[in-house]
């Protein structure tokens, strides 16, 4: 997994012919797609929890959303760096994707607030699950709204360099996407294992007392 990441990082600069700012594309876009994927996974596990009532899905949903939020924050940071490099501003409200990520980041931060201020138990699991489902529905609607909002708040839109890719660039992109997805998956398993261990330990301690 680490090898794949290193490969992606080393191969990527070789074929970047649009200047140095283009290189971040290989990191930024896979991270963003992975963040969406994590949010989707979290919502899917949340749906399973509501549907089947399996307690294990609560932790899985939480961990997936936690990973999604970390990757979402990374997307905001890398996107901001890219905006600085190619448009000479740190933040641009006319970049739909960045604004969407900001909204989602706020939304999922509220998810953690909700989760940590409820008593542990099935009710917390179900409330978090419902909120996670709202998040996934919010993504397309917010995107639509942000795209509409651009018309009246920002009449001029930045022209972005086109994403036409040569074969090698596309291959590099796919490779770094695979690497980031793998990284997210490994992080997800590690955190899940850690959290499960925590829960088991707590149970054990309660039994012993």
């Amino acid at each position: 997994m680490g090898l794949a990441l290193v490969l992606a990082l080393i191969v990527a600069p070789e074929d970047a012919d649009q200047g140095i700012s283009q290189r971040i594309f290989y990191i930024h876009v896979p991270i963003a797609l992975t963040a969406y994927f994590c949010f989707g996974l979290g919502a899917w596990k949340a749906l399973l929890l509501l549907w089947r009532g399996n307690e294990r899905n609560d932790l899985e949903s939480y961990v997936a959303i936690h990973q999604g939020t970390i990757f979402g924050a990374l997307t905001l940071i890398t996107g901001s760096i890219w905006a600085r490099a190619s448009w000479d501003v740190w933040w641009s409200w006319s970049s739909n994707q960045l604004v969407l990520f900001l909204v989602l980041f706020l939304f999922y931060c509220a998810y953690f607030m909700l989760r940590f201020s409820l008593e542990e138990g099935p009710r917390r699991a179900r409330s978090s699950a419902v909120y996670a489902l709202f998040g996934v529905v919010l993504i397309p609607i917010s995107f639509l709204a942000i795209r509409l909002a651009e018309d009246f708040i920002h009449p001029t839109v930045f022209t972005r360099e086109g994403p036409q890719m040569t074969g090698l660039m596309f291959a590099t992109f796919c490779l770094s996407w695979a690497a980031v997805t793998l990284l997210a998956y490994v992080l997800y398993r590690v955190e899940l294992a850690g959290k499960r261990l925590d829960a088991d330990l707590r149970e054990l301690r309660e039994v012993l007392q």
Binding site: V103, S117, A145
Partner: protein, 212 residues
Amino acid sequence: MTYLADVAALTRKDLRVELRARDTLPAMLLFVLSTLVVFHFALPEGARDDAAYGLLWVAIVFTALLGLARAWVPEQEHGVLDGLVLAPSDRSAIWLGKTLATLAFLLATQIVALPAFVLFFAPLGATALAGVVLADIGICAVGSLMAAMAAAARSREVLLPLLVLPLAIPLIVGGVGAAISPEGERYLLLLVLYDGVFAVLSWASFEYVVTE
């Protein structure tokens, strides 16, 4: 039909409680009027009408939040919610009743606030008014579910705005767009879409939030 009767009974109960206690509605009214006065001083001299429309939406959302924060307080204080959950009716009727009651409060507030806005700041067209009503429906639908979630939390007054504001962003886009865009109908469509999707989602998921 019994479902509608349940909803009507629950809405009537909320309205009657409010008529007797007068906890929420006067507070919302006073809040929205004070906010409009504050906006007069917050807007720089010679600001365009567009800025005032934006601020109107800030006032609407925060007034709704004020009402929603109080929405489940009577139920919490006297353990009414447990009784309602145990009652032999569909639980989503509780959500629908609360949504309708909150919507009634919000609309009643706006009957005073919108003429005041027109008087102080800028005129409102038919599209803008339709936008206000549609956004009210959306924010009450989502908000009463979120308020029910937050009611079980330790820090419910702090939590509710955090939960609702990110969800309300498409509503604000739709409402402001309906007020200032020449093609306001597109924004009304966005609001209708939002209301439909989130009302169904809230209706379907309310049961999971209130049962133990």
